[in-house]
Structures are given as structure tokens and as C-alpha cells.
């Protein structure tokens, strides 16, 4: 039982924080948001820090690190509301490393680690909402390879990525494929997202694909769980900053001749926000520390964590805006962007109600962290 970070983890945190503070200022971020929501150069800077190879084994060209390092990095990126989707890269590294055949790993992992290739999960379908077992995209064997037909939605940086991890039905079962964006029959329609990032609708018409694994649902669940743990950590970073700007504002802004922080009604709301922040941080730890648990245990833990984080993000985000008053709803003020980021993170990898349902489905007679 130990929740302290070791020296290497602290150094990693410092390095990412330095880059965020100096290299990814709010001005730069807003510039990226305005010019489409994804900057290949900024993504390259993440790669230079080694972050794109975090979950890729050293022999495959990566850093070979684990969920706690992933959590540390995502918290820091959250503090800077970084738009380039590193969570997707963690998924790609983790899933290809665990499930892909040797040739596919040899082709892709080193390129992902170096930042040369961005690979993202193209999973969302119109009829699925947050269900992972609902999949209409079809895969068919074509000679020694496969082709894919179907459409995926809200794919992160979908028109910028180099390849997609695509769940598709093969002989009635969900399998996982890798499809290159420039392959024939792949069409993307990119757009901005609410937080300022980028996503795309991606369609596949007899697009050539490489099989990652026939056990697609297992791999997809694993992928989404990596995404949930990363999202929880990212959220904690955003929540920390949201609290900080709220506290600063309350100690500066005066009404009725005194600072807002003197009013008990507002102070109690801040106490409730602090409660949600610490519960969120606790459950983000829980998610990352459970990421390598056996699948059943892991899935249940991720559902619990994302439920808590979702509730905390909504509470702190909405109350932060309210405590700021008018300035909180302006585009100019950084706080409104924290709020939009939190809102977007709640809707990623399953929202709060979805995960309440998951917790409810998976509930057992015993209870607690170790049950």
C-alpha cells in the first residue's frame, strides 16, 4: 500500500509540466484550436519527450512504462488542456503491443513511438452510443488480407491520423483491424470539437485492412479501459487548474466591498468542490492502479472510476462557472475552456450514466477497493 510517486515519476512529471508551461501556453493552444484543433508540430514535441512511446516496449522502440507513468503524463497534459490526443497514442501502443501479430508490430510500433505515425481508435458508431459490442462495420477476407466496409464517428484527429484501429464484424464476431488513412476507400470528414480539438467522420468502402486480432472485443475493451484511465488522469489535471483559478478569482473579486471568498454560501460550495476533487483524484489513482488487473476486475474498476470522475467533472465545472459569475461564461477567460474540456472528457469513453449502468450490472455481493 503506497501512493507515493518515485523519483523517476516525479522527474517525468516535471519534464511534462515544463513543456506545458513553456511550450504549450494558453495562447498557443487557442491558436491551434482556431487553426483546426490539431498541430502536428506540437504532437512531434510530445514525441520528443518520449511520451508517444510510453506504453510501447523498449525492444519495440518505446519507453516501456506503465499506467502510473501514463497517469502522471495525462494529469500534466490536462493542466495545459493539450489538444493533441495522447490518450489515443497510449491506446494504440498498448493494444498493438498486446494483441497484434509480429509483422504488424514491426511496421507500426517504432513509428508510433517516434511520433512519425499517429494511430487512433475509430470505434464510435451511430447505433452504439457507448456500447462496445454493437458494431455494424463489416470485415471480409480478401485473398491474404481483409477489406472493411462501414462508418465510424467522432474519431479523434480522424483526418490527421495516419492509421485507425477499427473494430469490425468478421464472420459474425468483432475483430480488430488496422486501416491506413491513405488506403483506397477511406474517406474522412474533419471538424472541430467543443473543447477546441479535432475529430472526423470516417467511412470505409472496401478499404484494405490488416488484422490485429480476432478477439476484437477483448482488445477493444482493453483499449477503452486504457482510454478511461488516461481520461480520468487528464481530468484530474483539468480539475486542479479549475479549482486554482476559481480560488484565485474568489480571493480577488470584490462585491459589496469584500472578496467573494468571505461569503459562507460560496465557501461551502468550494468545500464541496474540494470534496469532489479529492474523490476524483482518488478514483483516478484507482483506475490507473487497476489497469493491469484481470479483465473482469479491470472493467468494473474503470466503470467505478469513470462514474466518479464524470460526476466530479460536472459538479466542479458547473460550479466553477457559477462562482465566477459573468466572466465565467466568456470565451476570453480560461475558466470557460476548462469547463468545456471537462464537459468533453465526461462524454468520452462512456458518460456518467453509462458507467453507473456498468457498475450496476457488474455489482457483486462484496464491496470495496479489494473486493
Amino acid at each position: 500500500m503506497d501512493f507515493e510517486f518515485n523519483d523517476d515519476q516525479e522527474q517525468l512529471r516535471d519534464a511534462v509540466r515544463r513543456w506545458v508551461d513553456k511550450g504549450y501556453t494558453f495562447e498557443r493552444r487557442q491558436g491551434i484550436a482556431e487553426s483546426g484543433g490539431f498541430d502536428r508540430k506540437a504532437y512531434g514535441e510530445l514525441a520528443e519527450l518520449g511520451l508517444t512511446g510510453l506504453y510501447i516496449a523498449e525492444e519495440d522502440g518505446g519507453m516501456g512504462m506503465g499506467p502510473v507513468e501514463g497517469m502522471v503524463v495525462m494529469e500534466e497534459l490536462g493542466r495545459g488542456m493539450v489538444l493533441e490526443p495522447l490518450a489515443q497514442t497510449l491506446i494504440a501502443g498498448g493494444v498493438l503491443g498486446a494483441y497484434a501479430p509480429r509483422e504488424l508490430k514491426a511496421t507500426w510500433l517504432a513509428k508510433i513511438a517516434s511520433g512519425e505515425a499517429l494511430v487512433v481508435l475509430a470505434q464510435q458508431e451511430r447505433k452504439a452510443r457507448y456500447r462496445l459490442d454493437v458494431c455494424e462495420t463489416q470485415a471480409a477476407q480478401a485473398g491474404s488480407g481483409w477489406t472493411i466496409n462501414g462508418a465510424k464517428s467522432v474519431v479523434p484527429a480522424g483526418d490527421q491520423a495516419d492509421a485507425f484501429l477499427v473494430p469490425a464484424k468478421a464472420n459474425g464476431n468483432i475483430a480488430l483491424f488496422l486501416v491506413e488513412r491513405t488506403a483506397s476507400g477511406v474517406h474522412t470528414r474533419g471538424y472541430g470539437t467543443q473543447e477546441g480539438g479535432r475529430a472526423a467522420e470516417v467511412t470505409f468502402k472496401s478499404a484494405p485492412a490488416s488484422l490485429v486480432t480476432n478477439d476484437g472485443l477483448t482488445a477493444l475493451e482493453h483499449a477503452v479501459d486504457i482510454g478511461i484511465a488516461a481520461t480520468c488522469a487528464e481530468a484530474v489535471g483539468v480539475l486542479d487548474k479549475t479549482m486554482a483559478v476559481t480560488v484565485e478569482y474568489m480571493n480577488t473579486r470584490k462585491q459589496f466591498g469584500v472578496t467573494l471568498s468571505t461569503f459562507q454560501a460560496l465557501r461551502h460550495r468550494v468545500a464541496d468542490m474540494k470534496m469532489q476533487l479529492e474523490l476524483a483524484r482518488s478514483m483516478s489513482y484507482y483506475a490507473s492502479l487497476k489497469l493491469n488487473a484481470p479483465p473482469q476486475d479491470r472493467r468494473r474498476a474503470m466503470a467505478r472510476a469513470k462514474y466518479q470522475l464524470g460526476a466530479s467533472m460536472r459538479f466542479i465545472g458547473q460550479n466553477s462557472v457559477q462562482l465566477h459569475g459573468g466572466i465565467g461564461v466568456t470565451d476570453e477567460y480560461i475558466g470557460s475552456h476548462y469547463f468545456k474540456k471537462l464537459t468533453q472528457l465526461e462524454l468520452c469513453f462512456g458518460d456518467t450514466l453509462h458507467h453507473l449502468g456498468e457498475v450496476s450490472e457488474r455489482m457483486q455481493d462484496t464491496a470495496g477497493v479489494f473486493a
Binding site: R267, A271, L356, V359, S360, D365
Partner: protein
């Protein structure tokens, strides 16, 4: 970072578990698991068993005869006791006054009072709240006037938990009216058999007599019963409040009670969505929410323990633990009562006693549910109300 306990910690847990299984009387754990009424004898019997093992003062350092456990070991001990259905240790002696006597008492006071606390022979009560001093505790008025080698105590304490069983009571008393209210308070140990002490039980909304009024009418207290210095009592009391940080959340009991809630919900047909009416799925979701709340609280507690063990960072979140722990206690009792629905309504006092041979309405598990729900409303009020706790949390965050 590591979520699992070390092999040594696991072994320690096993030892505790084995001992508790063998030593906790079944008739007592039966009452605890079923929320039946515990008698003074039940509570003291368990205290004496722990005392003989040297574990009633399980948080004590070795120099005072305690086991000298670290924060994690204490947590594991509490958890094993809770899950086994042990009664909560009545905290006023071993958990509350003993650390104050250790830190601020004289060697004579330590030799005189600590053995009786450690063995479970002497029952202590806590004399803090007064009719006019609840959340604003420092406004307390019970006076202690020094006359020669005695204090003469006059005044009234209230909400004194289980004082009807008390042998001794530790009190905050006013010894000066000068300066700030906090600076005129002293910490006094009073023998409850002294002439002039009157205890009057207060019947609470659940019909139980759990708390009391304690009156002091010209009670003579030897001056040697003063802890530390006169007018420094507030400092000592604050030490006491800061002493118990994680136990206050009571997360281990919450885990046990969540399991009971699931058993009750199952029996009442509101656990499996497929086996009940339209409310079953909603009810199950409410249990699921509570389960996440409890896991999150447990993680919060473990973070505090880890910080204490490492000594690196301290987490100043005792207020959060109190708020969340008490809210969760109220919530599980509320859901248990709601699970029973109309069968929570009959009020048959004898059904609260173990071994009652009468006919239950509905099922035996329904009988105590409403009473427990009513009883646990206290948790957000006592120990510094949750609103006071929010003030403290806000102070830390906002300055």
C-alpha cells in the same frame, strides 16, 4: 505506487483475522451484523477481551503498553474487526482521553488512569457539549473554581454518549472568563461517582437512550485531576481532535453495511432488475452509486494512510473524511429502510433484542431498519457538524 498490501501487511491481516474470529463471541457479532441492540455488557465484554490481548488501545505506542502499530496496521485491525461484526470500540477512553493523558498528563496521571483504560475495566465518557455550546464549543460555561487543592465544578453537559454507564468523564470546563473564550478552558478528569453528579438519559427519536444530560452541582474534584496546565484545555482538546483522522470516516463499517444492504435488497426484491417491479432497477442503481461512494472513500482513506506511513506529504483532509463518511452512513441506513418499504414501519421494540421469540412483521431483518436510519441522523451533527467541517475545508482551500 502500489495498491496491494505488502506480504508483511497481508500476514498481519491474517493474524488479526484469525484472532478476531476465535475471540469475538458469536452472540455479539450476530447482534452487530443484524443491527440488534447491544447491551453495556456486550460492549464491555468485547472491550475486556481486547484489553486482555493488549489491543483495546490499538493505537497506543509501545511505551504505554500499546502494540505500536503504524497507520496501515491500525487500519487493517479496524477493518478486520468491522468485517467480523465486532462492536465499535467505545472511543472515549482508549481513543480519545488516553492520547491526551499520554501527551499532556503527568507520569502519576498516566500510571493512575491508563491501565484501567487499556484493560477495558473503566468506562469513560466525554463531557464537551453543553446546552448553549454545540458547534460553538468554546463558548462553554460549566465552571471549575479552584479552592485549595480542589476544583468546585458547576454546570451542565449534554449529548453525553453512554454516560449512564460511565465511571469517569473527561470535561472541558471554564476556569477563566478573561481573554478569548478558548484561552479560559481547562481539561479536567471527573469521577462520576462524586457527590453532585447527576446523569439523566435523553430518549432519542429511535426510542433509545444513547445520550445523556450530565449535571454538576458543587462537585468537588481533586486538583490533581487537572490535565496539564490550567486554561490550556482547548489546546489539548484540539490535539485530541487531530488525533483521529481516518477512523472518523468509518469506511470499514460502511463496507460491511453495504453488504448487508445488498442482502436486504435481495430479500426484498429490489436488487435484481429482472426479479422486481419497475423500481428494482432504479434501486439497484442507487446501491451502485453508494458502492462507488464507498470505494472512493476507501481510496481517500488509503491515501491518507499512505501519506502518514511515508511521512512525505500530509493530506489535510480530515474534514472531508468526516463529511463523506457520515453522509455514507446515513445513505446506507436510508436505503436499507427504503428496501424494506412498508415493512420498515412496524415499531416493535422487543424485536430489537436478540433472541426475541415473537412473530416478526415481514422478516426479522426489517425490524431495526427505521430505528437505525433515525439513529444515524446524528452522524452529520456530532463531532463538529458537517457545516462546521465545510468551514474548515474552505479555510484550507481559500485561506
Amino acid at each position: 505506487m502500489d495498491l496491494s498490501f505488502t506480504p508483511e501487511e497481508q500476514k498481519f491481516r491474517e493474524e488479526i483475522r484469525t484472532w478476531v474470529r476465535a475471540s469475538l463471541p458469536k452472540e455479539i457479532s450476530h447482534k452487530v451484523h443484524n443491527a440488534l441492540r447491544l447491551s453495556r455488557d456486550d460492549m464491555q465484554r468485547w472491550a475486556r477481551i481486547l484489553g486482555q490481548k493488549g489491543w483495546l488501545g490499538y493505537g497506543w505506542p509501545q511505551q504505554f503498553g500499546g502494540p505500536g502499530w503504524n497507520a496501515i496496521q491500525k487500519h487493517l485491525f479496524e477493518e478486520e474487526c468491522a468485517l467480523a461484526g465486532a462492536p465499535r470500540i467505545v472511543p472515549f477512553g482508549p481513543v480519545m482521553v488516553a492520547p491526551v493523558i499520554m501527551a499532556f498528563g503527568s507520569p502519576e496521571q498516566q500510571q493512575r488512569f491508563l491501565p484501567g483504560i487499556a484493560s477495558g475495566e473503566v468506562w469513560w465518557s466525554q463531557g464537551y457539549s453543553e446546552p448553549g455550546s454545540g458547534s460553538d464549543l468554546a463558548s462553554l460555561k460549566t465552571r471549575a473554581e479552584r479552592r485549595g487543592d480542589k476544583y468546585i465544578v458547576n454546570g451542565q453537559k449534554t449529548w453525553t454518549t453512554l454516560a449512564q454507564y460511565g465511571d469517569w468523564i473527561f470535561c472541558l470546563v471554564r476556569t477563566s472568563t478573561e481573554g478569548k473564550p478558548q484561552t479560559g478552558i481547562s481539561f479536567l478528569l471527573i469521577d462520576m461517582k462524586s457527590p453532585g453528579v447527576t446523569v439523566r438519559p435523553i430518549t432519542l427519536l429511535d426510542g433509545e437512550k444513547e445520550v445523556n444530560e450530565v449535571f454538576f452541582d458543587n462537585v468537588e474534584v481533586p486538583a490533581e485531576n487537572l490535565i496539564g496546565e490550567e486554561n490550556k484545555g482547548w489546546t489539548y482538546a484540539k490535539h485530541l481532535l487531530s488525533h483521529e483522522r481516518t477512523n472518523i470516516a468509518d469506511v470499514n463499517r460502511a463496507k460491511r453495511e453495504l453488504e448487508r444492504l445488498k442482502r436486504i435488497a435481495k430479500a426484498e426484491g429490489v436488487y435484481e432488475a429482472s426479479q422486481g417491479g419497475p423500481d428494482a432497477a432504479r434501486f439497484r442503481d442507487e446501491i451502485a452509486k453508494l458502492e462507488v461512494d464507498i470505494v472512493a472513500l476507501e481510496m481517500l482513506v488509503l491515501r491518507v494512510l499512505s501519506a502518514e506511513k511515508s511521512g512525505k506529504n500530509s493530506l489535510d483532509i480530515a474534514g472531508l473524511l468526516k463529511i463523506r463518511g457520515s453522509e455514507i452512513q446515513q445513505r446506507y441506513s436510508e436505503l436499507m429502510m427504503l428496501a424494506a418499504g412498508p415493512y420498515a414501519l412496524p415499531f416493535i421494540e422487543e424485536a430489537m433484542e436478540a433472541g426475541w421469540q415473537g412473530e416478526f412483521v415481514g422478516a426479522a431483518h426489517c425490524a431495526p431498519l427505521a430505528s437505525t436510519y433515525f439513529n444515524l441522523r446524528k452522524t452529520t451533527i456530532y463531532g463538529g457538524s458537517n457545516e462546521v467541517q465545510r468551514n474548515i475545508v474552505a479555510q484550507v482551500v481559500l485561506g
